[in-house]
């Protein structure tokens, strides 16, 4: 099959930056070059001047990837089904006849496949346009990035990799590309979307293809999916868009990337089936996220509403609200070839027919992991921090009773926010800082979380109007937690700027050491423990440390010498801010470690674990021994478990289905054992 897919080489290249330059741009975040790219244009402005219908019916004539043959959806499906790879896999499936397996594969493909049609793109554009005009004041897009993308698309297959913070951004990229005459992408989506009546089909025809959750060990499904994805990349028939984080981040914090899809996407390059692949990280930032309150509730254990068409219409009340602005920042296109140079040896594929399924080597896996992390980091660097995120950072450092009862002094808050703004700029963060009257308008925008009255700001707590009964103390905690977690998620939007110096500040705070070596080893320890919480590019510990040092030095917090790091008098404010910023994470982790150690039970189910931790935390909050609500978030709890599993303090057991079939079918088999010794070791080190 391969024959019909391949295209002759391209003439010239976009990527004339050399690798060293690139790594600087990408990893450390550049200073100078970003300035030119910060020109954002409001694309809604023009939409508001023209008719929606006229817009939807505009001529759409994109320049596709050069060598790409115009292949229809059915060609694509045929190519996948007839691929040598799938034939191998089908031959391997035993137990039923080949024809039956083929039939099954066809079924999977039907369920998965997109059906991109221009007519539906127009319909989508029409609707999205209407909705967005209602929801947002402006949608800002960096034209420079779009131009680079437009060029990149003609050079090699392009992968669009946005972050995912809201359902709203599912179609935003397609919408923008339609507006600017760039080929519409096909988008990887979760299967629940497909089952929505009518809407599922519209999405499919707008380019979405659907992937099951929890594929597990279904080999045939994996095979069909990976061949489908690879074929799209290989032919370059359309840009491919997928969320490397795997799902919508409930906490608005970047999620550690998932590697399955990334692996499929990069494989055609590893196997030399394409000359290069271009990755385009896209950072989408919101002033206010449409589903903010749902997210907080979900984190506290209230299940998210099932995706359904009726649910969608019910949700239409969100259209009444103002959600401020949205920024879509198209990152600099990254050449996979350049990224992987020197990292992998592609000749490992030379001795086995390339169509044969084979496990990638650890070298390849590490490389995929590295690229995925790099992309998420780039997304973080490209996202814009709103004044509200900075205020959230500060609000969360105030004692909770101040927030809920008397409120925080408005004047103090604004002053401190301006101080923080300067710090962000020192740390090379990107700010979305409109000139006039920023702070009061931003607080007004977030009236659902805080209200500003008589020179004071306090937290809005949703009273449930249905129940008139006074709340129990536990219910009270949960109510406050819901509000706090909303605030937390906005703080999280700014976290990536502070994490590295923050960890260093924490290390200084805990170790009380001035020795660089000692600080570095503690920095690495914390970086390691929190690797599920924040995005750290694997293998870059010392660069991260150097970055943290140089940033702290830049803002005048510390003085660095060859061997020592000395805290400056002037830097105490910064250090204490940073250390307090990360304190909730330390507290949460510590609490859970403590629970696991003191609990006594060495084997427990995840289902027991989550509520038990929540109970313990609630008790401690009520007794005043715990000052953070974040440990109540299921996200934090899951991250801790993943971190412990990664550190091999906890292992996951799969227990025979028969014995446990009585247990909750949702969690059966997910037993967890703790290695107490290792845990104590971590605790001890932590307590240094």
């Amino acid at each position: 099959m391969l024959w019909s897919y391949c295209h002759s080489g391209t003439r010239k290249s976009l990527f004339n930056i050399n690798t060293r330059e690139l790594s600087e741009v990408v990893v450390i975040g550049s200073t100078a070059s970003l300035k030119d790219e910060e020109e954002f244009t409001d694309i809604l402005e023009e939409r508001r001047c023209t008719t929606d219908l006229g817009y939807a019916l505009r001529t759409f004539n994109p320049q596709p990837y050069k060598g790409a043959p115009s292949s229809s959806t059915s060609d694509l499906k045929k190519a996948v089904l007839e691929s040598q790879y799938l034939r191998y896999i089908i031959a391997l499936e035993t137990g039923s006849s080949v024809e039956k397996v083929r039939q099954e594969a066809r079924g999977i493909l039907e369920e998965m496949s997109h059906n991109l049609q221009l007519g539906f793109i127009r319909l989508m554009a029409y609707t999205v346009n209407k909705v967005f005009k209602r929801l947002f004041r402006s949608i800002y897009v960096n034209m420079e990035g779009l131009n680079m993308l437009q060029q990149a698309i003609q050079e090699s297959p392009v992968i669009l990799m946005p972050n995912h913070r809201s359902y709203v951004d599912f179609l935003i990229v397609s919408f923008i590309l339609f507006t600017y005459d760039i080929p519409i992408p096909v988008i990887a989506a979760g299967i629940p979307l497909a089952s929505m009546k009518v809407v599922g089909e519209i999405l499919r025809r707008s380019g979405a293809f659907f992937i099951r959750r929890a594929i597990g060990s279904d080999k045939l499904y994996w095979a069909v999916l990976s061949e489908y994805v690879r074929t799209i990349v290989r032919t370059g028939c359309a840009p491919l868009e997928f969320y490397v984080e795997g799902f919508r981040s409930r906490t608005l914090k970047s999620v550690v990337p998932k590697l399955g899809m990334m692996d499929m996407v990069l494989e055609p390059y590893f196997k030399g089936e394409v000359f290069d692949i271009t990755l385009v990280p896209i950072s989408i930032s919101y002033d206010r996220v449409v589903e903010e309150s749902l997210l907080a509730l979900e984190l506290l254990g209230v299940p998210k509403p099932k995706e359904s068409t009726t649910g969608l219409f019910k949700a239409s009340r969100v259209l009444q609200e103002d959600y401020g602005c949205m920024h879509v920042n198209f990152g600099r296109p990254l050449s996979v070839r350049q990224l992987c140079e020197g990292k992998i040896n592609r000749s490992e594929y030379n001795l086995i027919p390339r169509d044969l399924p084979q496990r990638p080597s650890t070298e390849i896996q590490d490389c995929v992991n590295w690229v995925a992390h790099l992309i998420v980091r780039t997304q973080e660097e490209g996202s814009l921090i709103s004044p509200w995120s900075l205020m959230a950072c500060l609000l969360l450092q105030a004692p909770i009773t101040t927030l809920t009862e008397e409120g925080l002094q408005w004047h103090g808050l604004t002053e401190k926010t301006l101080w923080l703004r300067k710090l962000v700029l020192d740390f090379r963060g990107r700010l979305n800082w409109p000139d006039s009257d920023v702070m009061s308008s931003t607080v007004a925008l977030h009236h659902s979380i805080v209200h500003h009255k008589a020179g004071r700001v306090c937290l809005v707590q949703d009273g449930d109007p249905a129940s008139q009964d006074p709340l129990s103390p536990e219910e009270g905690v949960m109510r406050t937690a819901a509000a706090v977690l909303m605030l937390v998620s906005y703080r999280n939007q700014a976290l990536h700027v502070f994490v590295r110096p923050g960890i260093l500040a924490t290390a200084i705070h805990i170790t009380k050491s001035t020795q660089k070596d000692e600080l570095f080893s503690f920095f690495c320890f914390l970086r390691d423990v929190f690797a599920n919480e924040f995005i750290f590019i694997p293998g870059r510990a010392s660069q991260d440390f150097d970055e943290a040092c140089s940033l702290l030095q830049k803002c005048g917090a510390v003085h660095m010498s060859e061997q020592e790091v000395t805290v400056l008098e002037t830097g105490l404010e910064v250090l204490s801010f940073l250390q307090k910023l990360l304190q909730p994470f330390l507290d949460s982790y510590q609490l859970i470690f403590r629970y696991l150690c003191e609990n006594g039970a060495h084997v427990f189910t995840e289902k027991q674990f989550l509520p038990a931790v929540q109970n313990l935390a609630t008790k401690l909050i009520l007794s005043g021994d715990l000052h953070t609500f974040e440990v109540l978030s299921s996200d934090t709890q899951k991250n801790v478990l993943s971190a412990l599993r990664r550190l091999e303090a906890v292992t996951k057991l799969r227990v025979n289905n028969n014995i446990l079939s009585i247990a909750d079918p949702y969690f059966f088999g997910k037993y967890i054992a703790i290695d107490v010794l290792l845990m104590t070791e971590i605790m001890n080190k932590r307590a240094l």
Partner: protein, 648 residues
């Protein structure tokens, strides 16, 4: 002209055309001739041979002693006296470029490209499209010329380091030798770009200190003995067409370097018409071998692109491949018996049987040894009766992918013609640019019609289509049948027959583009990807290295096998504005080669390793493999007498 790389000035032009002409003539004699006239002809030849022997030696330079090879006296020498390669090569060949001195491309007074000389079919013709193609492809124009150093400056050549004891004994053997600067410089290089470029700039590095011209096997035995005795470094020299830096003298070599030029060992010693073999001295160059065999009604069918100048010994030493290998095989298939002189003595098999099951084939230590083990002196080769009929052909495909698919199918059905080659779009355009001026309005009208038919009526995109060129050989009926079979397959892949003329021009092209040649064997499934990736890598590297104009980056599938194919990559760029173009070239070539290896290509299909590709050997054949080769070298040549340092 020439501000692009020198190969366009030099030329390796239409050897095929001259050959064809000859094939045509002997075809005629075959069809008309009877047995008796044949016998007569052979008798006449032998007479002339004997006459030739009597006349020899007439030339003789000061410092060069002529010597007869007494040992060969009783053997039947069927060769004639018309030799292509004299001892003083510089008399007929360029000292700083490819080929004959009288044949080159230049712009005439009207600014049109012209090919000079009388040797080739293209000679003396004006090529109107070339200039425009050069300008549009490289941005090369008449205003930017880089003249070459016109003559060799002998004072730039280091004086020879002579081993007096060796020299004294060599003199007593009567074997001709010379330490003239021109002779030495001529044997200090092959045809790698950097070598030629240095010569054109008048830069001369380490060159051999002495050149010897053995006349026969026994002369070689004597020379090798003396070299061992006096610890002199020997470097065998055949046709000098190496493109792997194999002939470069290792700069670290402190001993006296003696270039052993085999060109005077150029006789066909006997022909065995019953077993269809010929026993030939290894210094014979391809065109002489073929011409002489043709006179007896035979051919070897081994036609590498360099056959005008490359020698039999060189083919053996590098594992050469000929364009018509589909019928005749590569050198390893053609060779029946090899005699090689090594420091440990002479190696040869005891019989000429077609196949032996006697452990690993020792021939395979010799083939590809690249002059590191000894000198190949005599070879017994298979010969074939000359084909009765030859026909060129060509097929146009809508795109390269379809072309490759067709070649794969042809190979699957094992019906490949004598030669089948697929040029990509860029090369197709180049071939077009080389079309000589057409003589009549009618021809140009026809050309226009053809173009219209293919691009408009058939809807081929002129920027994507590609051409396969074909050469059929055999008896007339079979050729026609075979032709039909191949065209039928082509039709399945959208191919349109595009006539004999295009096919012929395609083969001519081979000799004209000699920029970079990277030749490798690939698996089929990889062909498309590799072609695309390597071409793209070349373009990207050139851009990164500051080449102002997009380079020509093109490839061609030249050989098909059951399980793979051989692809040639060519690239050329305009080096205007670059301070060190050779370095850029080397970097790009290096990158291209890495790309090829990363994509599952082999290091070399037939040019060998030399010194240019040594660094990838371990990766290619594994450490154990290296150890095996090393131990052979250590046994055969413990004192590194054959010290050209190729391969390992």
């Amino acid at each position: 002209m020439c501000h692009t790389f020198p190969a366009l000035t030099s030329d390796r032009s239409s050897r095929i055309c001259s050959l064809l002409y000859k094939h045509g003539s002997s075809m005629a004699s075959n069809s008309s001739g009877s047995d008796s006239s044949d016998r007569q002809r052979i008798a006449q030849q032998r007479l002339s041979v004997i006459a030739g022997h009597l006349q020899r030696p007439v030339e003789g330079n000061s410092g060069i002693l002529a010597a007869e090879c007494k040992a060969q006296g009783d053997k039947l020498d069927v060769s004639s006296e018309r030799r292509t390669v004299p001892r003083r090569r510089q008399e007929i060949m360029k000292w700083n470029g490819w080929g004959y001195s009288d044949s080159k491309f230049l712009y005439n007074k009207k600014g049109q490209a012209e090919f000079t000389g009388k040797r080739y079919r293209l000679s003396g013709m004006i090529i109107p499209g070339l200039r425009e193609w050069m300008e549009s492809t490289f941005g090369a124009n008449l205003q930017h010329k880089t003249p070459a150093a016109p003559i060799l400056n002998s004072s730039a050549v280091q004086p020879p380091t002579l081993n007096e004891a060796f020299l004294k004994e060599l003199k007593s053997t009567g074997i001709p030798f010379s330490h003239d600067a021109e002779d030495r410089v001529f044997r200090s290089h092959g045809h790698c770009l950097h070598e030629i470029f240095a010569l054109r700039e008048g830069k001369i590095g380490r060159v051999p200190d002495l050149v010897v011209w053995p006349n026969c096997h026994n002369d070689v035995v004597k020379i090798v003995e003396l070299a061992c005795k006096h610890n002199v470094c020997l470097m065998p020299y055949g046709g000098g067409t190496s493109v792997s830096s194999a002939l470069e003298c290792p700069p670290e070599e402190t001993r006296s370097i003696v270039s052993l030029d085999t060109s005077q060992m150029n006789r066909i010693l006997w022909i065995d018409e019953k077993n269809l073999t010929a026993h030939v001295e290894a210094g014979i160059v391809g065109q002489d071998l073929e011409r002489l065999l043709n006179e007896s009604g035979y051919c070897t069918g081994h036609e590498p692109d360099s056959m005008e100048f490359s020698s039999l010994g060189g083919w053996v030493a590098t594992r050469a491949s000929g364009m018509k290998k589909n019928i005749y095989g590569n050198i390893e298939d053609l060779v029946v018996h090899i005699k090689m002189v090594t420091p440990q003595g002479v190696i040869e098999k005891s019989c000429q049987g077609p196949r032996m099951s006697t452990g690993p084939d020792v021939h395979h230590f010799i083939m590809g040894s690249e002059g590191t083990l000894g000198v190949v002196t005599e070879v017994t080769m298979k010969i074939r009766p000359m084909p009765e009929y030859q026909k060129y052909g060509s097929v146009v495909f809508p795109n390269f992918e379809m072309g490759v698919a067709c070649l794969r199918e042809v190979a699957r059905q094992r019906c490949a013609p004598a030669s089948i080659r697929l040029m990509d779009n860029e090369q197709f355009k180049f071939g077009h640019a080389l079309k000589p001026q057409v003589s009549s309005i009618f021809t140009s009208f026809l050309d226009g019609l053809k173009k219209f038919y293919i691009t408009k009526f058939k809807g081929f995109d002129p920027n994507r289509l590609c051409v396969a060129t074909l050469l059929f050989e055999g008896d007339r009926e079979k050729v026609l049948q075979h032709e039909k079979q191949v065209y039928d397959i082509a039709a399945k892949f959208g191919g349109l027959a595009a006539g004999e003329d295009n096919g012929q021009r395609g083969y001519m092209l081979t000799f004209v583009i000699a920029y970079l040649r990277v030749v490798l064997g690939f698996k089929y499934t990889l062909v498309l990807d590799i072609c695309r990736n390597v071409k793209a890598r070349i373009v990207r590297e050139c851009k990164d290295k500051g080449v102002q104009f997009p380079p020509l980056s093109t490839c061609r599938v030249t050989q098909t096998y059951d399980a793979g194919a051989c692809v040639y990559f060519y690239f050329a760029f305009n080096y205007r504005g670059l301070s060190d173009p050779v370095h850029v070239y080397e970097q790009v070539e290096h990158a291209a080669r890495e790309e090829i290896l990363a994509n599952g290509g082999s290091l070399s299909h037939h040019h060998g390793v030399g010194k240019l590709r040594k660094e990838w050997m371990r990766e290619t054949i594994s450490s154990v493999g290296m150890g095996m080769l090393r131990s052979v070298k250590d046994y055969v040549d413990p004192n590194n007498i054959f010290g050209n340092r190729n391969l390992l």
